[in-house]
């Protein structure tokens, strides 16, 4: 019985938390599916954006934060622009990713998250993104050495990936901003 039937539990604290963290009124969703219909990456998601909202309403935290959908969202904002109930799903996705990280739930799309991390670390190091070191960092983190080798090489050969990073002067400032933001 338990495996098939979901007992709807009292309290929808996950819904409340998702609402509070995203600032979006998720109760308003009436499942018109406008978001999913226009989403460029929905076909590749395990849970479609509209279903994700539904699952939040039903309090299914683990499934939501463990979904691939929250990582495959490319923040193109097509959904938020068109939502008839003014729900900015892009913002919601940001909030969900943040919650997943905080809860220590492993990202279903590990590489996407690792790339994000490599990117942010690159900024932390030099104030600006340095593609070459960032990519190496990412490749080391993901241990995925072969994917997209060719486009990367092409960029390099075109002189589009400078070898040496350009660090900004205010690196200390950047570090302080990072520290303060990470503490909150």
């Amino acid at each position: 019985m338990e495996s098939v039937v979901e007992t709807v539990k009292t309290g929808t604290s996950f819904l409340e938390e998702a609402k509070r963290r995203s600032g979006e009124d998720l109760s308003l969703c009436y499942q018109c599916l406008k978001c999913t219909a226009g989403c460029p990456t929905a076909p590749f998601m395990d849970v479609r954006p509209n279903n994700l909202i539904r699952m939040i309403q039903m309090g299914r935290k683990e499934e939501v934060l463990g979904s691939s959908a929250i990582w495959l969202c490319v923040s193109c904002e097509t959904c938020g622009t068109r939502c008839p109930n003014k729900i900015d799903i892009g913002v919601l996705m940001d909030a969900l990713r943040e919650m997943a990280i905080e809860e220590g739930i492993p990202a279903k799309e590990r590489n996407i998250h690792l790339l994000h991390e490599a990117f942010v670390q690159s900024i932390k190091r030099g104030g600006r993104v340095h593609e070459a070191t960032m990519l190496i960092d990412y490749k080391l983190r993901s241990r995925d050495f072969l994917t997209d080798l060719i486009p990367g090489m092409m960029l390099f050969l075109k002189g589009k990936i400078p070898l040496f990073p350009s660090f900004i002067k205010g690196r200390e400032e950047i570090k302080r901003i990072f520290e303060k933001c990470e503490k909150k």
Binding site: P40, T81, I112, H116, R128, L155, F178, E182
Partner: protein, 281 residues
């Protein structure tokens, strides 16, 4: 005509030609771009997925510096950077608590009258297409570009407040002012999936493939963009050899500015043959 200027990290890497053509075109228009001193990365497509506060504070540092430099509105060529800066601006303008938090972390006081403009918006609406038309030395007559706006310029409209989010026209108007004949098509605001470029190549290939083939089907000879990520993504992930320009490059052609060959060298798909066929090389 003096503006504060945020080039963005790709200015010296993947969108080298965007930066150089922007500078050249701006000179031709008689304007001056003053680079923000010691600017930092806007945080781009990754930071908001890791730490949302950080994704507001990194652009805020740039806003703070541009604001105190007092050289005029801040101009941003890359649509991606523009979007990040505007998101921060939106939070600063509309969320009192968030504003105080950001101000405290970055160490500045936000001036709500400080303006952040997309380069395209500035050229089309502030400088005006009339002035652009006056500068044209070689009309782009016969060139049929597909104007591609992507996501970051027009979405979310409450944040970017730029043009119509479903059928924008700024770039089309600019291309017409240069003498080109932009085609009508339905994919000008579809997402190219650049965020997944390094992790999900096959997904991106599908998204780019659709955009490029639809442009071609609609009769376009090339695609014009205003975003460093879009341009690189559209060039690298397509299979039909449709040239992808930054809009400033085509302005440069029409204004007949120097050094264009340096730009073309940076393209994965060389636009030279197309330009030659129209006598615009």
């Amino acid at each position: 005509m003096k503006f504060s200027y945020f080039p963005g990290c790709t200015d010296h890497s993947t969108s080298y030609e965007y930066g150089r053509s922007t500078e050249a075109v701006f000179r031709a228009l008689g304007g001056e771009l003053v680079e923000i001193e010691d600017w930092n990365c806007c945080g781009a497509a990754a930071t908001h997925s890791i730490n949302r506060l950080l994704s507001l504070c990194l652009p805020a540092r740039n806003i703070s510096k541009a604001q105190s430099a007092q050289v005029g509105p801040l101009v941003v060529p890359c649509a991606g950077c523009f979007n990040m800066l505007k998101r921060t601006e939106y939070a600063l303008k509309n969320d009192e608590a968030k504003r105080k938090e950001i101000e405290e972390i970055v160490g500045f006081r936000y001036d709500p009258s400080f303006e952040i403009l997309a380069l395209m918006d500035l050229i089309v609406n502030r400088i005006g297409t009339e002035k652009v038309r006056e500068r044209v030395k070689r009309s782009l007559k016969g060139l049929k570009p597909a104007c591609y706006y992507g996501c970051a310029l027009v979405r979310h409209p409450k944040i970017t407040q730029l043009d119509d989010p479903e059928n924008p026209q700024y770039l089309d108007r600019l291309m017409k002012a240069l003498g080109a004949e932009p085609i009508e098509w339905s994919y000008k605001v579809d997402c190219c999936g650049a965020d997944l470029a390094l992790t999900y190549g096959n997904v991106v290939k599908k998204l780019v493939g659709r955009i490029v083939s639809m442009a071609k089907e609609a009769g376009a000879q090339c695609i014009v963009t205003s975003c460093g990520l879009c341009q690189a993504n559209l060039e690298m992930r397509q299979e039909v050899d449709l040239p992808i320009f930054y809009f400033t490059e085509l302005m440069g052609v029409a204004f007949d500015v120097e050094g264009r060959d340096q730009w073309w060298k940076k393209h994965m798909i060389s636009p030279k043959r197309l330009l030659e066929s129209l006598g615009l090389a």
